[in-house]
């Protein structure tokens, strides 16, 4: 027993020490966090009620079907109109934070990579978590990235941003102002298949492959087996994997 008891004691001690450190430091970064921006001075119990109302876990894969406004001025129900039968890319952003956390720039590379498939096979949504990002400002922002029609910049109420963030990160309100990295979510909502990748995209082709992995490949059933890999050492291919180049059998 002694081994276990000692471990508990050690772990508890360390926990208490670090708790003290954190308590001293947390308030410095809290000021501009998403929850602070979103909630303002709204009473706690109202937020709780609101969140409980918009997130119905038995429907819509848990997505809040909140009303969102696109940078085009159009108003949508987030799940029913934009997501429910589609392959989608979703990220959270703020115009003000873009220089520090260039997530929209990376989304733009991905969207550009997909070209005409955006708006047809794949739909992209960038959700602002900053109240200051009005549809008008988002329209200018979208224009600066040459956003095609299938890429919409969405804004909504602070509470609904929190609810959407809660669904996608499956975590509590987050300190986006203090974040150094973020995720791009991709999913096939008609199947219920969801994944994430780092928003720091260093290889657009590979990032596109990750997204298309949640789409049907429409391979003919019973077709001849195809070798995925490893490829021969004398053949060309990317350094990051050993797959055959596409088309080779």
């Amino acid at each position: 027993m002694s081994r276990i008891e000692n471990n508990i004691t050690e772990a508890e001690e360390l926990r208490i020490q670090s708790r003290r450190k954190l308590l001293a430091g947390f308030s410095l970064t809290a000021a501009a966090s998403l929850p602070a921006l979103a909630l303002g001075s709204m009473p706690t119990h109202l937020i709780e009620q609101r969140a409980a109302r918009v997130i119905d876990r038995s429907r819509n894969q848990g997505f809040p079907d909140t009303r969102v406004t696109a940078h085009t001025g159009e108003v949508f129900r987030f799940y029913e109109d934009l997501v429910h039968d589609r392959v989608v890319l979703i990220n959270f952003m703020s115009i003000r934070r873009e220089p520090d956390l260039p997530i929209t720039r990376n989304m733009a590379r991905l969207v550009q990579g997909f070209g005409e498939r955006i708006g047809r096979d794949i739909h992209a949504f960038s959700i602002s978590y900053d109240e200051r990002d009005t549809p008008e400002r988002l329209a200018d922002f979208a224009k600066s990235f040459h956003a095609p029609a299938g890429w919409k910049f969405l804004s909504t109420t602070p509470e609904d941003v929190i609810s959407l963030g809660y669904r996608l990160y499956r975590t509590e309100g987050r300190f986006r102002s203090a974040m150094h990295s973020d995720l791009i979510h991709f999913g096939n909502a008609s199947v219920g298949l969801w994944g994430t990748m780092s928003a720091e995209i260093s290889d657009v082709d590979f990032a596109m492959q990750r997204v298309t992995s949640v789409m049907p490949r429409n391979a003919t059933a019973g077709a001849q087996l195809r070798r995925a890999g490893p490829r021969r050492f004398d053949s060309e291919g990317p350094v990051i994997h050993h797959r055959e180049s596409s088309g080779e059998s």
Binding site: M1, R3, I4, N7, I8, E10, A11, E12, L14, R15, R19, L22, L23, S27, A30, S33, P35, L39, T44, E48, A51, A52, I162, T171, E172, G173, R174, F175, H180, S181, L183, S190, V191, L193, G195, T196, M197, S198, S202, D203, S213, V214, M215, P216, R217, A219, L225, R226, R227, A228, G229, P230, R232, F233, D234, V239, I240, H241, H242, R243
Partner: protein, 597 residues
């Protein structure tokens, strides 16, 4: 924990080993339907628990031993130009493993009896157990016959897989790294050379496993079924308890050598496995920070549903059967314990129930002789009353049922209290715990020729002169995302270029103060030098060859590692596979001498 020899010397078999929880003798060992959670919290496994199932109704599943195939039956033929050192280690055996969606019966009660849709290997989950031998290289062709996205019955998993041989001293292209995936209708060839690292017999490994490692989708894919055992034998651990070789260890073998893989699973009301990231806990809300809350977030609190942290199921399955039983003879058995994840850790103990219903927690026979750590035989067996098994940990243990009477029932009890969000243990030991499986003691059929050896494998030397450099890896949390040295995983980024043949010292640090990470690095076993600045001493369980770091809150661990025999890219990551999928992974590459960073 005493070494076995010391205990024998002292004859102190009974003293001081017993569990002292109150009421341990009085209550029945009646199985509990759920796990013990802190008050005031209702995780989804309570809110929408799996349908009930009669405990210990179904026998333990014994996976079939994989059967070799004629290489001529593989079309196209195996091609040595695709594998490093293929011609140095020409395959002696060839296998074909087909991955398909099939129903799997986790239990015989309804609704489970109709089967749960799963990703199976040759129709089985866990997959077939490979029996491989040092000196006999193996070739495995894996074929993905899963249905296309949207066509299958397992909505949460991705029908694209890469199979990693966990522990294997395997070249990058056969290792099953996250980016080497195969889609439906595709196959991948794996070459397992089955030689010890550096051709050093002290590097021989014995209990390995294979599992999916698909980029972004490892947690759901393993959960859907993709895991199995790969056992390696050699002249000493020879798979023969009657081995006439005087040096052979003669550990319990054959029928008495049983791999046990643990997965905790949640099921829907119609008995289908659900990977329920989202529905756990209460809806989000906002509460004030409580005084004992150490997280930096202050305003938006109140949800217990932080399931990016982990995925806990409420049914503990052993070899994919819910709470099975196993008839055992009153003799020694070798159990190969493996935590297959996704996120739950286990702390296993044994509990005895006599035929008259008396429950005994401190019988001298209720102990494990731990013979391996992470599948690698120890210098000497270690006797212990419990064994802590983090995700991907493997411990081979010997349990000697000759200490019990026919008619006795021995329970394998999990007493680990996990954080409700799945991110690690609470540090508390559950009083009663959850009964994972039951051993029903029968009379021994014959003599027990097996042994618990006094000495097994010596550890390889740690030669500091070989150390070319040190590296530090900090595992942390960035507002909902899991990071290593501040970064999320990027398949296009190599985080370390290691020179082949060199040794390095790595410091693995947990910057988090409440969560725990089982950190796994591929390719070669390492030896831990220090835990929180304290050297690991001879005779301790962690004085062993390992591939998992049990990185508790605020811990710092230093290890000595070597990288030999092959070139190429591998990964290190958290083996709480939910953390892994949410980017807690780095890539390192073995490069020729002179090209390292």
């Amino acid at each position: 924990m005493p070494k076995r020899r010391d205990v024998l010397k002292l004859g102190a078999m009974a003293g001081g080993l017993g569990m002292t929880s109150s009421g341990a003798l009085a209550r029945g060992a009646v199985p509990q339907s759920g796990l013990v959670f802190p008050q005031g919290f209702t995780p989804s496994i309570f809110e929408r628990p799996s349908p009930p199932s009669t405990p210990f109704k179904d026998p333990l599943y014994r996976m079939p031993v994989a059967e070799p195939v004629n290489p001529a039956s593989l079309n196209p033929n195996p091609d040595g130009r695709r594998h490093q050192r293929f011609y140095d280690f020409p395959p002696a055996k060839y296998y074909r493993e087909v991955i398909q969606e099939r129903r799997w019966r986790y239990h015989s009660d309804p609704p489970y009896a109709d089967g749960s849709w799963s990703y199976t290997m040759n129709g089985s989950i866990p997959g077939p157990t490979y029996h491989a031998y040092y000196g006999e290289p193996v070739f495995v062709r894996r074929i993905n016959r899963l249905p296309d996205v949207g066509q299958g019955k397992v909505p949460f998993a991705l029908p694209s897989t890469t199979m990693h041989l966990h522990n294997g001293h395997t070249a990058s292209e056969s290792d099953g790294i996250p980016t080497d995936f195969m889609n439906p209708g595709e196959f991948w060839d794996h070459h397992y050379a089955n030689f010890p690292a550096g051709f050093d017999d002290r590097e021989i490994m014995n209990t390995l496993w294979y599992h999916d490692h698909r980029l972004d989708f490892t947690a759901p894919n393993v959960y859907a079924g993709l895991s199995g055992f790969y056992l390696l034998f050699d002249d000493l651990d020879s798979n023969n308890e009657n081995d006439p070789n005087p040096d052979a260890f003669r550990l319990p073998s054959g029928e008495y050598d049983i791999p046990l893989i643990f997965h905790d699973v949640q099921f829907s009301e119609d008995g289908q496995a659900i990977f329920d990231f989202f529905a756990a806990g209460e809806p989000p809300g906002v509460t004030e920070k409580s005084p004992d809350d150490s997280s930096p977030s202050t305003i938006y609190r109140g949800t217990d549903n932080i399931t990016l942290f982990g995925m806990l199921g409420d049914k503990i399955t052993v070899n994919r059967i819910i709470q099975p039983f196993l008839d055992v003879e009153a003799r020694k058995y070798r159990f190969r314990l493996l935590n297959g994840g996704p996120s739950r850790f286990y702390n296993f103990w044994l509990r005895l129930e006599r035929a008259d219903g008396t429950v005994i927690d401190n019988h001298p026979g209720l102990k494990f002789y731990i013979v391996s750590n992470d599948g690698n035989l120890l210098p000497e067996p270690i006797e212990a009353e419990n064994v802590e098994v983090w995700v991907a940990n493997r411990y081979d243990v010997i349990v000697d049922f000759s200490a019990f009477e026919p008619g006795d029932k021995v329970y394998l009890v999990n007493r680990m209290d996990m954080r409700r969000d799945g991110a690690g243990p609470t540090g508390r030991l559950l009083d009663e715990g959850e009964l994972a499986m039951r051993f029903d003691v029968m009379p021994a059929v014959g003599e027990d020729p097996s042994r618990i050896p006094d000495f097994m494998r010596e550890l390889p030397d740690i030669n500091m002169d070989e150390v070319r450099r040190e590296r530090t890896w900090v595992f942390d949390y960035d507002n909902g995302l899991w990071t290593v040295n501040g970064n999320l995983m990027d398949a296009n980024r190599i985080d370390a270029n290691i020179e082949q043949g060199s040794a390095e010292i790595w410091t693995i640090r947990n910057a988090g103060n409440t969560w725990a990470h089982p950190i796994h690095t591929h390719f070669e076993e390492f030896q831990i030098l220090e835990i929180n600045g304290r050297p690991v001493k001879d005779g301790e369980l962690k004085r062993s060859r390992k591939d998992i770091i049990e990185l508790g809150p605020n811990m710092e661990i230093k290890f000595f590692g070597r990288w030999r025999d092959f070139f190429g890219t591998h990964v290190m990551h958290c083996h709480n596979v939910v953390h892994e999928d949410h980017e807690m992974m780095i890539q390192w590459r073995i490069v020729p001498p002179g090209q390292g960073d």
